[in-house]
Amino acid sequence: MISAQLPILQVVLPLLAAPLIVLFRHPGLAWLVAAAVSWCSFAIAVALFFAVPAGGAFDYALGSWAAPWGIAYRIDSASAYVLVLVSLIASVVVTYARSSIAAEVDRDSHYLFYAMFVLCLGGLLGIAATNDAFNLFVFLEISSLSSYVLIAIGRRRRALHAAFQYLIMGTMGATFYVIGVGLLYLMTGTLNMADMAERLAGVSETRPVLSALAFITVGLSLKIALFPLHFWLPNAYAAAPSVVSAFLAGTATKVSVYVLMRFLFSVFGVRLSLDALHLFDLLVGLSIAATVAASLIALFQDDLKRMLAYSSVAQVGYITLGIALNNADGLTAAVIHLFNHGITKVALFMLVGGIVLRMGTTRFSDMAGLARRMPFTAFGFVVAGLSLIGVPASAGFVTKWYLVMAALERAHWWLAALVVATSLISALYVWRFVEMAYLREPAGDARRAEAPLALLVPAWIMVLACTYFGLETSYSLTGAQEAAAALARGFR
């Protein structure tokens, strides 16, 4: 049965496509392969999403080696949710990529771009699909290494420096993760996460296990760009080609958040009382610092892409806040914000890609009168911006609602107030764009120069998705609720 092979196809297809693209070399052909693979991955992910039984999971033993010995893939509601998110964003972004990189990447490197793109996609999907802690590290490195290349591939000289900085920091994060996994292996003798969760039973209070928890938390905190380990992100996103910023903003940090949740709730949380360790208290503090500080930093940026990047750091704070509240609503908020913020940020970065193409700049002061030159782009930016703020009837509102509910369930009313208050700061930085784009007179050439449809259509699909998933929440919300339940339930 082909359907039984879906978990492995999900990962192997993009991985195999990468060398194929390098062999083809032709930019058009490379794009075709990358697009076909991305859309196939999306189809597979959707099939898995609907096929995963509630409360159950698909298991796949690689090479028919049974679970504790061989590498096992395991797709439950949580992994399926992340698979859909990543492959959806990849599919939309790859459709958009063709015209965008034509302007931002040298033609000679196009095939390399697509090869790295599918490699990165394969790595990200692998992280979500695998149930093996070390295999997860391998995929983490595959996706990270390819993303360093993707960031550096553009024409900007700054990108090299940003990619190098990200390389060093990202490697430190990965090293921390692998140290943690090593300590766990030492204590449990297994790398299979389900097995690990079981075997932690006798040793859960030992120092190596607790140290492993600390290493893994810090290592992944860097990968998700949790304040104050976020310094790689703004530079990387700002310097990368727009399509890479869009892709990474919607997927890379989100997948790492998934790994963090998996380890906290499904591996450690089963045998350890995380509340007693005060882990969540620390995480609440960091989340608040992230939302407040990064929102304020975003407010003062003079570059559109850096503003969006810092806003991502702030939004990561909302996600970790949901995790730190450690109740059903909080976890639901965290999971659904992976999706809601993913589509919102992708929409915004894709629109910025159009601006880069037409205006050749992302400086705030050059956005004066943008609405007259690029009306659809500017309007799309405002609509997606409303979702960033969390205005009702936008995707962002759903998250905000659950986050507030979760905080109130914990009787942290001040936290609820903080969540709604920080959304006012995001309103301020979105307004800055509105004021520039709509109220200032364009400097110099004010002729209409809208982004080409090849860029505008994918971006607007995401913009409309921001509104659609704010009104019709049956898939995104029930999916997130089941995913949260699956994470909390662990591998039992």
Partner: protein
Amino acid sequence: MTSLLLHPGLLLVAGGLLVAVLRGRTRAAVILLLPLLALWLVWQALDPAAAVTVQFLEHTLRPLAPESLSRLFATIFAIMAFGGGLYALNQASRLEVPAAFVYAGSAIGAAMAGDLITLFVFWELMAIGSTLVLWSSGASRASFRYLMVHLFGGVLLMAGIAGHVAATGSVEFARMALDTPWHWLMLAGFLVNAGAPPLSAWLPDAYPEASWSGMVFLSAFTTKTAVYVLLRGFPGNEILIWIGVFMIFYGIIYALLENDMRRILAYSIVNQVGFMVTGAGIGTEMAVSGAAAHAFTHIIYKALLLMSAGSVLYMTGKRKCTDLGGLFQSMPVTCICGIIGALAISAFPLTSGFVSKSMVAQAAADQHLLWIWLALAAASAGVFLHAGIKFPWFVFFQKDSGLRPPDPPANMRAAMILFAVLCIVIGVWPEPLYRLLPHATGYEPYTAAHVLNQLQLLLFSGLAFFVMLDYLKRTLTITLDTDWFYRVLAPALWRALCAACSVLRRSLTAASVGGAGVAERLQRCFGPAGLLGRTWSTGATALWMMVLLLAYLVTYLS
């Protein structure tokens, strides 16, 4: 879902977006037909069989669950959208009418909502729509301040609703007591939109910055939706009486000081909403009905006054009383309609204001609230002074300013005449309005006592105005704000009041001035070159990782 397409509010919102892309005659036809269709749908929605439920986030929403108050408010909102649309047909800005329809549609949606989440969604949409109306006139800084105040109100409201839902598990919009902090938060969110202190200043700050037709729309929906939710959610809370009385006098005092004709009318909105908030605070059947009826008539006559003022602005480009005068000779229709509006706002017998305003005073009398009744009576005289006489006198009569503009275009005249006729018809024949009210009060406006009482009040305050007229003429030429009126009142009392009120009035400006200092400090910390905003070296990140690792280890292992 299909029946949700028949939601009058959503229809108007969607229609607003349609208007944005239309041109010429089709556009005009759509602008005029949409509100009438919405009005028809409002009345269709009263049938319980039409009730619609929507699942959203584990809650069952009832976006179309009108009760008796909803019908009254949704009806007048639809009428207002029609009148405003007719008046604004020749508005050059192509954004204003679409934005106004989104605004009106969301106000209708809020009035028809049976649950708090739907209410909140429309509440926020209303803030966005009204900001766009304001924005279309090019007043960017005013619209930013306006938006920020309303987003702040929205934040309060959302926090309140979330807490209420978390505590009770119910999203239904029912009458609430002020027993939990959540209900206080909701009340605060409602009051921000009502223009209550301490944030009253947003209203006169923002509305006069709108275009000549924009202010007609703005005057109708935001504050009256707030009155509606207060009447439905919090009737009978004594604190509202005091807030209402404060608003009444705040509005009068500032309107008397003001020189800009549309700012006079903006302060007068605060004053009139004060009557309604007082009614909500008294909370008896008579008071609630009176406040609702007053909201109904107020929307019509305030729109009429603003249409008249807007016509003057449209034809002359001037808005200061001192620049205007003598316009009755060349703008007879505008002048007569303005006078009818002024009579209605002063509650002159045979106008709409008379049949509604006295109900609130009657409710106060019924409850033996002597001081409130006296305050309301004094305020009625004050209303006559600032809006009833001052506005028409200085704009249309007074000295001859030498301006000879003709009456405005036909559509604007038609809108004014329509609303003027409504003012008179409701005044002469109030029964249909009374039947719309949530409670049958059996109130009879035209008793000898009522009429005599009101006429005495009006005649004496009118007399006071004209006795002082000579006095006015001499000092009016330079400033109106600080001069003539406080010579009548005890100067000391006056200055004290003035100081207190100007603190309130300047609260917005002061906040932005004080905000500038804060912003500078924030910039120093968070700006691109600031401590947190600049790019840190890789080493710094490594250091932070070690710090965090240590922090985690210490907490885990201790």
